[in-house]
Symmetry: C2
Subunit: 396 residues, 2 copies
């Protein structure tokens, strides 16, 4: 067999992050160095761009332009939340065949990995030769295939910084402050609020994760105890907290809107924070209660990304292209493995795509404090190197 | 009269900002250089600290510690929202007499200036010799005495950065995004969202200020027009928008909680954003609508302050102490005057305290676009030097 150059398609899918463009640029620059890759096509808005024949020629932009895009938050190619049907897949292979596409890279979270897995399996069934690689990305940090995911470190840096500033604000004016943090099923991002602490009395004083069943009565008691001890209280709470019935409380309050993967809308509304504030005013007799929902800023705020996260996102993109060109696995994702517990170091390893697809992981038990409203020192040790140094804040 | 050294009290009041500690440190370092000042006392939580005899000795901290505090958001001495009564004032003078306090500095917005004015006038009536200076601070930028206020530039930098990132996020996933921005009566901070724009199609595409009566029907039409033209829409809306009846819409939805200056709670709830999102889903038939309320992060996020704002806040604090020690005005505030419209330069001038007290200013007409949902180039020219450069963002 002569080595024929094959063209590649790359796209982004799911919720954007501050560093998803690092992965895109990492992949593109790696592909540009290879003699095996012909055209490098960026599909706009994920598989919608493939289905709609909407591509960008990624050989054209200068390295300077690509580097500037790498530093820019959100998905520069556009995104989508679409689960491909068998019909979609047939249309995709037709479009790929017309363009001699032999490599397909999809940057995203578990749903995007699942979309890529479907494409890969359908290609196999259809006898269309296609190497498919998922490139990990999610601020939720919930891929089973990764020690931690690109995007998490930067979102966590936003959250910990915001909580740090908010804790100072709460010191000044007192009362209870509730901050609602993203994370549909996994509480990693909410847990990262704990990185804000330096002093013994620093907030967050209470942390509620989706992994621990939420009880209104316990919540009220927890807050009353902190108010008694500190005279103030900063609370980090996940948008995904759920009662014993397992139903997310925010979803009950929300619009009921769902995407094609079946995910209920939780972000982009202040309903959960407001509901929790109401509980405290009525049942904990706290006079000043404020609630903020950090919302989309957690994944899109420019200029504050974690440097480690940026570098790893870049490396994950490059690793996927390297692995695809080697051809060991034809349906792969890049696992991020922490190599050394003492000195922070990671490796990027190709593993089967199903390791990342569909099912997510939760915050493991050893990271959740026994009291149910905090994290453990093990979590801090885990998250700190990914998030990096936070702005120093001094008090009298 | 022999020059007797007099002691000074300084305190912080009202909503914190990212640079209010710069003003504190500016005043303290200036006072430390003077032979006229004896003790430098920081009252905790504004006049509550004076009434409660709760002081910090501000001669003690090292310059290094003070510099670190200057860089830290929120009010390091703590804050309060208290309008002093005549009885409070008598108690204050008693406390001041016992400590030989001849200078009183109060850092805050219009309500804090009014509180300082009351203290100053009551001191005069009571025959207690006291030089009172208000030091301007408010993220709302609504003091009549200042071209712009310390705290505004940094909050505006947060807002413009957040909108910039959010606009990229909206490019990726489409639909309508509503961002609710602080500003009870004045729309300056919401207007600053416009600084996010670089390209012709960049958001925010619609800007709603409290200065323009808000109409639901016009809002729906505005959004539909942008959706038709752009296929997406980013909206910056002030928490203080009000209908033709002049009643803030957010206040109608909120808790009805008020402070002792009569201000109704608006921040710390997502109700306004959620209500606007509901309108668009129901009446503009937009499928994907998300609303974020930027909340307290606008005044407390660490590490992103505007350098110009930091330097001016510092200078305003120092200017107040200089003016007080000169003794030209015994009841003063520091006006910030823009000296040259071409090359950005400001001066700090002592003016009567009533110039800052109580009544606020609104966004002037020449900064509001005729269409009622945007700002003018004159506003951009006004705000840009105060806010400084934003993180560069590149797109394909």
């Amino acid at each position: 067999m002569t080595m024929k150059k094959m063209n590649m398609v790359i796209a982004q899918s799911g919720g954007p992050s501050m560093v998803i463009n690092e992965s895109l640029v990492g992949a593109v620059l790696e592909a540009r160095q290879s003699t095996k890759v012909g055209r490098i096509l960026g599909a706009r808005h994920g598989i919608l761009g493939i289905l709609g024949n909407d591509y960008i020629d990624l050989r054209k932009p200068s390295v300077k332009k690509l580097e500037a895009i790498a530093e820019t938050p959100s998905s520069a190619l556009g995104s989508c939340r679409k689960k491909p049907t068998a019909d979609d897949c047939r249309a995709i292979f037709e479009a790929f065949r017309a363009r001699d596409v032999g490599y397909f890279f999809y940057i995203g979270g578990n749903d995007s990995a699942d979309a890529a897995r479907i494409v890969a399996e359908e290609a196999e069934k259809a006898g269309y030769p296609l190497v498919v690689y998922h490139i990990p990305k999610t601020i939720d940090n919930d891929l089973r295939s990764c020690d931690h995911t690109p995007g998490f470190g930067s979102a966590a840096r936003f959250v910990a910084s915001a909580i740090k500033g908010d804790d100072l604000d709460n010191r000044a004016l007192g009362g209870v402050k509730i901050d609602v943090i993203m994370g549909r099923d996994a509480g990693f991002l909410t847990a990262a609020a704990a990185l804000a602490r330096v002093r013994e009395d620093d907030g967050p004083h209470l942390i509620y994760l989706p992994e621990v069943p939420f009880s209104e009565a316990t919540f009220v008691k927890d807050v009353q105890a902190v108010m008694k001890k500190r005279g103030r209280c900063v609370i980090a709470v996940s948008e995904g907290i759920r009662g014993k019935d397992g139903v997310p409380i925010g979803a009950k309050l929300g619009s009921g809107e769902t995407d094609s993967h079946g995910n209920v809308q939780m972000s982009g509304t202040g309903a959960l924070g407001d509901a929790l504030a109401k509980i405290l005013k009525e049942k904990a007799a706290v006079k000043r209660v404020r609630a903020d929902t950090f919302g989309y800023l957690q994944r899109s705020f420019p200029g504050i990304a974690s440097k480690v996260d940026q570098a790893e996102a870049r490396a994950a993109g490059a690793a996927a292209v390297k692995a695809a060109l080697k051809g060991e696995l034809t349906k792969g994702t890049i696992a991020i493995v922490r190599e050394n517990a003492k000195k922070y170091k990671v490796a990027f390893a190709p593993v089967p795509i199903q390791n990342a697809a569909k099912f997510t992981r939760s915050v493991p038990k050893e990271y959740i404090a026994r009291n149910g409203h905090d994290v453990t020192p093990a979590f801090i040790a885990y998250a700190k190197p990914i998030v990096g140094e936070l702005p120093a804040c001094e008090i009298f």
